[in-house]
């Protein structure tokens, strides 16, 4: 406990960065993932192809490699300068989006085709059919796997430590310089991660309960 209390500044700073990185990447991944997932079911061939290629390239690339690209490859492209934090968030968003897209697509497949037909029959265009009728029902069907995707994202944020983003995964390195026992530090980091994931599980339970009645 002393290890945690004596070094609370490092723990707080580290997990604050982790949570920021997680929240920003989660929103980015959700938005991008929904768009990519929608492209895969859109009645436009080019969109289908783009969605499929995106998922199959990004999902098949190790996250570390994607991080490497953004950390070292990006500034060679001569685009606007971005902080390592931003680049890490972009890499995590892009990577997680491929999983979100596939989860959503499997959710869309659970919605009976008659739901979309009825929406089209009252004159809703594709975007509204998807946004108002199909996606809300698809989300309800995939809450557990979707939360798993975000649990993975939360833990994947630690990879950013390798690229100078001082989040929770970097706490051990910082504290070993202060002479703290490394095993104890790692156990504390792990314990806090477990607690954070439990918050996500709680969100999952709430969503499942809330949406169970309306079906």
């Amino acid at each position: 406990m002393d290890t945690l209390i004596d070094n609370s500044d490092v723990f707080i700073a580290g997990f604050r960065t982790t949570i920021y990185l997680f929240l920003i990447s989660a929103v980015g991944a959700l938005v991008l993932g929904v768009v990519i997932g929608a492209m895969r079911v859109a009645p436009v061939k080019a969109a289908n192809v783009f969605g499929t290629v995106y998922v199959n390239t990004v999902r098949n690339t190790p996250l570390t490699l994607l991080m490497f690209f953004f950390a070292f490859g990006y500034d060679k492209l001569g685009l606007i300068d971005l902080s390592y934090f931003t680049l890490a968030a972009v890499a995590l968003s892009m990577y997680t989006a491929s999983y979100v897209a596939e989860t959503i697509r499997s959710g869309i497949n659970t919605v009976p085709v008659g739901q979309a037909e009825a929406a089209r029959a009252i004159g809703l265009p594709f975007t509204q059919t998807l946004g108002l009728i199909v996606l809300p029902q698809a989300f309800r069907a995939v809450v557990p796997p979707m939360v798993s995707v975000f649990v993975a994202l939360l833990k994947n944020t630690t990879i950013a430590a390798g690229f100078s983003v001082a989040e929770a995964g970097a706490i051990r390195a910082t504290l070993s310089e202060r002479g703290e026992p490394q095993l104890v530090v790692l156990l504390w980091v792990a314990a806090i991660f477990v607690a954070l994931v439990m918050i996500l599980s709680l969100v999952q339970n709430r969503l499942e309960k809330k949406w169970a009645v309306s079906r």
Partner: protein, 272 residues
């Protein structure tokens, strides 16, 4: 099944004895014009050179055995089913192939499905107001007022806050009819609206449909309910194997079918 089933060769049957059709409602102006459409599913020829004109205020009932293409024909009219060739016009406008123009035209064509297809995550009231609010741009208050009046008319007003799964099949189908009517459509398509219902609920749905027909709504109805065809149809279209085999007034069709195919079909209905 209704007792007034086709009487086949019964010579005493007077073609004019039962309910006369509300021909007064028909103004004779063509509203839905289907011309020479062909539809293939791969190698399967689902619709063979089918033509059909439905005038304003007219009720056309399409009957025929399973797989005869009657549902497919019904679904081509609002392009839930695409066609291989031919033309379909609604109130003079040819069906756009996709995008916003198609969505706008679909808003003019009400559709009732065999499996109801009420939006499962929305309440009964929201099911009926969604189209008017999102497509017609009505305010929520306006849309709800119309929706409640329509729900009252189909006898579901007191269930407005429930979800579709909490209603019986017959109630769901009546809500589906209200949902379609809320768009103030020019024509209503019914794709086997009672096929998924048990006998008690069939009547409550048919009553609503007969009411609509009497008010002069233009309707295309695919059904196996011969009683409804006799009571409400202005014309009966008999289809088999993707073709329109016979087209006639209901009394003429049921009492004196011309084609052997129709005679055969009707005789089987009698036996069962």
């Amino acid at each position: 099944m209704q007792p007034n089933e086709p009487s086949g060769t019964d010579a005493s049957a007077n073609p004019f004895e039962t309910t006369s059709n509300p021909i007064i409602a028909s103004t004779g102006e063509p509203l839905v014009v289907v011309e020479n459409i062909e539809k293939y599913y791969g190698d399967f020829h689902a619709l063979k050179n089918v033509s059909l004109t439905v005038n304003k205020g007219e009720v056309v009932v399409i009957i025929g055995p399973s797989g005869s293409g009657k549902s497919t024909l019904c679904r081509t009219i609002n392009r839930l089913e695409t066609i291989t060739s031919g033309t379909i016009r609604i109130d003079g406008t040819e069906l756009p192939s996709e995008g916003k123009p198609l969505a706008q035209l679909r808003a003019e064509v009400g559709m009732v499905f065999q499996s109801f297809n009420l939006f499962a995550h929305k309440t009964i009231l929201e099911n009926v107001t969604l189209g008017p609010i999102k497509v017609r741009g009505l305010s929520k208050a306006e849309a709800e007022k119309t929706a409640l009046a329509l729900l009252d008319r189909v006898g579901i007003k007191h269930q407005a806050a429930k979800y579709p799964a909490q209603l019986s099949g017959g109630q769901q189908q009546r809500v589906a009819i209200a949902r379609a009517l809320a768009m103030k459509p020019k024509v209503m398509l019914f794709d086997e609206p009672t096929s998924a219902l048990d006998p008690e609920m069939i009547t409550e749905v048919l009553d609503v449909m007969v009411g609509l027909a009497k008010e002069g709504m233009t309707m295309v109805v695919v059904t196996h309910e011969m009683g409804f065809a006799r009571r409400a149809a202005d014309r009966v279209l008999f289809m088999a194997d993707g073709e329109v085999v016979e087209e006639n007034g209901p009394e003429e069709f049921f009492t004196a079918p011309k084609s052997d195919r129709a005679k055969d079909f009707l005789s089987k209905l009698l036996v069962n």
